[in-house]
Subunit: 170 residues, 2 copies
Amino acid sequence: MAESGDLESSIIKTFRNSGYRATPQRIAISRYILSTHEHPTAQKVFSEVKKDHPTVSLATIYTTIKALKDMGMLQELNHPQSETRLDPNMEPHLHLICSRCERISDWMDPEMEDFIARVSDEADFVVTGLRFDLKGICKRCRDGGKGDRSLAAAGESSSAKDADYTAVKV
Amino acid sequence: MAESGDLESSIIKTFRNSGYRATPQRIAISRYILSTHEHPTAQKVFSEVKKDHPTVSLATIYTTIKALKDMGMLQELNHPQSETRLDPNMEPHLHLICSRCERISDWMDPEMEDFIARVSDEADFVVTGLRFDLKGICKRCRDGGKGDRSLAAAGESSSAKDADYTAVKV
DNA sequence: CTGCATGCAAAGAGTTTGCATAGCC
DNA sequence: GGCTATGCAAACTCTTTGCATGCAG
């Protein structure tokens, strides 16, 4: 991609401005996480980065993730019975999580901030952060039949995971 | 409490209707989880139930939680860098999570369903479950100063955990 | 009585940490 | 060159599983 150089130099600047050293491993890890939209797991980052840096270790992945979180570049998404996934989108948004293909899509909604502001006001609760996930079936999986399970945990039924979200009558 | 007998017999019925045996341990575990509003961890359930059933094991806590989830009585709430917490409220609602005292309060909002229905429609995504958390500072902690950290992880700064929620400008 | 549930301990998964070496600044 | 970051492996935390015994139905 044409702008990979731009991304890379901005990553280097960000690390140095925060007092971190910009090592090749950190740059590669950050470049992958910040440019993908697939909300990867730490293991996924590990296997992707290993293609270019075969000696990289999982410990370095986790340390770099922690640094990126510390610098406000990244947040983590936890779900019951599944690994933590990473999200470089720091704007208020919600997640559409497909039970079938395990894909996580971001959805920006203009009304969300108003909604939150009203709840914050009514509940007398000063909101500093949010996390909004909708679980369900994406259009692609409804159209395409079985869907792409490449990101799904092998052999695990997705309906079991649905039990961890408040049911919504459809 | 006066209705503990009612809760107990309804727990027994629920287990038997689903083909589970209603053992004293399961009844005690379920009674505690279903009647508390503090969204306990498995460890908290363990220590509470041990008061009446000193020989109960953590494995039984976890298998009972799994049974309750299976019966649709319970969901789990995961947050980065903290243990899974339990929520017996199965109605669509959102969570107000205080960074200071670690308390989790439920908030029912009449507009939430409309909001979700609209997103579902616009995104062409069939919603089956939801998870909506707001992180911030509760009124009690703002009024009372330091707040009650009895549920907070010892020695851990709560600001670190805030990094895992999309920042909201206040 | 029959078979599921319990309690114990050990295994598992994901993540973190300790330490000697490597390499950024 | 000083000092942080790396890579390896071992430790850690939370959760799950295997198995012999116990007890609900």
